[in-house]
Symmetry: D3
C-alpha cells in the first residue's frame, strides 16, 4: 500500500516543550474518535466482513495503530520536560496526579476510553460505521489544528487528517462494492 | 410528514405474555443502537447542522421518540403478567430484582445506556454518524427478528426495520446535498 | 396545565457571547441532575405507576424535555460566536476538540451522561426518587446561579429553578395520595 | 442505638449451597440501590450536613457497612461449596470466570458498581436523596424475596428490609426538622 | 497493630483555605488508586483469602477507611470557606455546580469512581493486585506532593505515603508466605 | 524471542461448534484481565519506563496482541455455525441481538471493556501493576479451563496460561533489576 510507505517516511515533528498542546492532542489517543478506537474497531470487524474487504480492514486497522504510536510519541515529547507547575498551568495537573508523565488512554477532558465503537456482524452497517469513524476523526484533527498554537505539530496533524479522508474514500468504495454484489445475487 | 401519519395508524401488536421476547427487545430501548440513542443523537445535532437539514433531524428525532414508546409498550405488555418465576426463566431475574416490572434504559445484557452517540459540529461527519446509526439499528431489528419466536411482535419489528432503511436513505440524500453545496461554494 | 403555557410564553434570554457561562450551564443538559435525566426518568416510570399519577409523570416529563431545549439553546447561543481561543480560555477547549461547536450530553466536567436515574416498579420508591431528583435539580440551578456572572441567563435559570420547586411539591402530593390509598386498601 | 445492638444479635441464617439465590442477592452488594451505595452516600454527605443530622448519617452509614458484610457473608456461603458446573447452571459462570469464588461489587446482571449516588451539599436535597435510597433498597429486598426459593435467606432479608423502612422514617423526620429550622430563620 | 495507634495520634494538618490543593487531593478520595479503592478491595478479598492472611486484609482495609476520612476532612477544610469565584479559579467550578461544597467520590478530573479494583478468588493474584495498589497509591501521593504548594498538607501526605510503603511490604511478605506454603504442599 | 516463535508454531485448536464455550472465552478478549487490557497496558507504559525494560514491555505487549487474535479466532470459530436458537441456549442471545456473529470487546457478562488498566509513570508501580495483571490473567485462564467442557480449547488455553506465568516471572525479574539500580544510585 502506497500510504503505508509514505507514513514510514514521514517524521513526527515535535518542537519545544508544549504541554498545552498535549492537553488537546491526547483526544486522538484515547478519545471517542481517536486512533485507538479506530484500530480496535477495524481489526475486530475483520472476522465477519466478506473476504474481499477483509484486507482493507486489516491494512487500515494496522495503520491506525501506527498513528496511535505517533500521537503517543508527540504527547510524550511535548510533556516530558515540563515541570509539575507547567503541567498544572496547561490543565494537565489532573493527569499528572493520576499518571505522572505517562501517557494514558483518555480524552482531553480526562474521561477514560470506554469502547465507543460498534461491530454489528452486518457488512453494510459495519462499513458505514467505519466511514462515520473516519469523518469524525477528520473533524477532531481539524478542531485540534484550529485550537493549536504549534505549527510543527499542526504539520503532522495535517498529514494524519489527510489519511482519514483517504480511509473514508476507501470505505465508501468498499460499501458500494458490497452493495453491487448484493444486488447481483438478487438478480441471478 | 407521510411516515409520521403512517406510524400513528400502525398498531403495536402484542400477543401473549412472552418475557423471553422482552429480554431481547429491550436492546432497542436502551441498547447502543436503540431508539433512545437515535432520538437523542438527532435532536442534539440540530443546533449546528445547516438549516436545510435541520428539519430532517427534527422529524426523524421526533419519530424515534415515538418508536421508543412503541418499544417500551411492547416490553411492558410482554412482561406485565409474568410471575417472578417466569421472569427468572426468561433471563429477566436480574432485571426484576433491580427494577421490578418497570422498563429501564439498558441493553439485552443489562448494561446501562451510556450515551454511545456522537455530535461533532461538522455536518458531513454528523450525517455519516446518522447513516451508520440507521444501518446499525436496521441490523439490530434483523437480529431480534431472527431470534424471535413471536410472529405478532415480528410484524411490528418489520415495520420499524423498514423505517430505519428509509431514514438511512434520507440521510444519504442529505449528505450528498451538503457535499454539492460545499463544492459550489468552492467554485464561485 | 397552567405551567406549560407559562413556559411557552417565557423567552430564553441570552445576552452576549459568554462561553464561561456555557461551561457550567451544560451541567443541566447532560449532568447527573440535569433536564435529560429528569425527562427520561419520568417518562420511563409511567408504565408501572398507578394511573392516577401517570398523567403527572407525563406532564412533567414532557416539560423537562422543553427545558432541555431551553438549556441547549442557551448553551449554543453563548458559544456560537466564540473563537477557539475564547473557548480554550473558558475551559471548553476539551469540549471543542471533541464536539466543535455542537452541544453534547455531558456534565460541566466533560463526563458523559451515564443514566444516573432509577425506576423500581414500586410507586412509592419511584415518587421519592422523583422528589429527590427535583430537589437535586433545584440545588444545581442554585449553584449555577451563584457562580454565574450573567444576569440575563440567571433570570431564565431562576424561572427553571422555580419549576423544580413546583414539581417537587406535586410529587410530594402524589406520594401522600398513594400512601393514603394504600392505607385504605389495608383497612377494607 | 437500639437497632445496632439488635443487628449484632441477629444471626445471618444461610442454609444449603444455593448459587441461584446468590446470583440475585449480589444485587444488594454492588447494585445501584445496594448496601455499598447506601453506606458511601451517607458517610460522604456528613461533611456538609447540619450538625444536628450528622450523627444520624454516621449511624445509618455505619450500619449499612455492617449490612454489606451480612450480604457478602450470605453470598459467599451460598456459593463456596458449589462446583463450576453448578455456578454455570445458576447463571454465575460469567462471575466465576472473572472472579472465581470471590464476591465482587457488581449487580445481578454483572454490571460493576459505578457510584450511582449523589451528594449536593444542600441538606434538603441530600436528605430526600437518602429517603429515596431507602425506599429503593426496600423495593429491591422485596423483589429478591419474591423471586427467592430459600426461606432461611428470606428471613434475613425480611429483617434487612425492615431496617430500610426505619431508616426512611428517620430521614423523613430529619428533613421535616431541617425545614422547620429554615422556616424559623426566615421568620426572625 | 502499632500503625493504627500511630495514625490516631497523627493530626490532619490543614492550613488556610486552598481550593487549588483540594482539586488535586480529591484524586486520593475517589480516584483509581485512592483510599476508597484500597479499602473496598481489601475488605472484599477477605472472604476467599487463606485465613493466615485474612487479618492483614482486615487491618489494612480498615486503616484505608480511616485514611479516606482524613482525605475527606482535608478536602472539606481546604474548600469550606472558599467563594464560588475562588472555586472557579481553582478549577473546581465543575465540582461546585454538581456538588456544591460537598465532597464526592471522583478523581481530580471529575470522573466518577468506577470500581477500578479486582478480586480473583486466587490468593497469589489477589496479593499482587494489592502490592500493585499500594505502589500506585504511593506514586499518586508523590505526584500530589510534587504539585502541591501547601507544606502543611504535604506533611500529612508524606505520612500517608509512608503507610503505603509499609502496606506494600506487608503484602510482599504475605505473598512469599503463601508461596512457601504452596510449595510445602507439593513436596509432601 | 524464543516464545514468539513457539507461538507461531502453535496452532489454535478449535473443535466443533460450541457457543457455550465462546460465552466464557470472550472474558479473555474484552474482560478486565483479558489480552486487550494486557496489550494496551504494556505498550502504553513504554514511554516512561527505563530503557533497560522498554524492550520487555514491547515484546510482551506485542505478544498479547497476538494472543488477542488467537482468542478472537477461537470465539469466532466456536460460534460461526451456530443458529440464533443455539446462541440463545448458550447465553449469547444478548450478544447476538447487539453484534450478530461479530466478536466484540466485552466480558462474559456482556459488560464493555472500560480500560481497567493503569500507567503511573513510576517504573516500580508500573511493573507491579504488570505482575498483578499476569497473575490475574493466569487465574482467569484457570477458571475458564475449570468450567470448560472442550478439551481442544483447553489445550490452547493451557498454553496461553503458561505464557502468563512466564511473563509474570519476567516482570518480577525486571522489578528486582530496577530496585537494584535504584539502590546503587543511592550508594554512590
Amino acid at each position: 500500500m502506497w500510504y503505508y510507505e509514505k507514513k514510514l517516511q514521514y517524521p513526527v515533528r515535535v518542537g519545544i516543550c508544549n504541554p498545552k498542546m498535549a492537553k488537546f492532542l491526547i483526544e486522538q489517543y484515547g478519545g471517542a474518535d481517536g486512533e485507538l478506537a479506530a484500530a480496535l474497531r477495524y481489526l475486530n470487524q475483520r472476522y465477519t466482513i466478506p473476504s474481499r474487504v477483509m484486507g482493507l480492514l486489516n491494512d487500515i486497522g494496522t495503520e491506525e495503530f501506527a498513528h496511535l504510536e505517533m500521537i503517543a510519541t508527540m504527547v510524550y515529547k511535548l510533556t516530558k520536560d515540563a515541570t509539575p507547575e507547567q503541567l498544572k498551568e496547561a490543565g494537565l495537573g489532573e493527569h499528572y496526579v493520576d499518571h505522572g508523565k505517562s501517557v494514558y488512554y483518555h480524552n482531553a477532558a480526562g474521561q477514560k476510553f470506554d469502547m465507543p465503537i460498534q461491530s454489528k456482524g452486518d457488512p453494510i452497517a459495519d462499513l458505514y460505521e467505519d466511514i462515520a469513524a473516519e469523518e469524525k476523526a477528520r473533524s477532531t484533527y481539524q478542531w485540534i489544528i484550529n485550537i493549536s498554537d504549534d505549527p510543527l505539530i499542526n504539520d503532522s496533524l495535517g498529514f494524519l487528517r489527510e489519511r482519514e479522508i483517504i480511509h473514508s474514500q476507501r470505505f465508501r468504495e468498499a460499501v458500494e462494492l458490497l452493495k453491487e454484489e448484493q444486488n447481483k445475487k438478487k438478480v441471478f
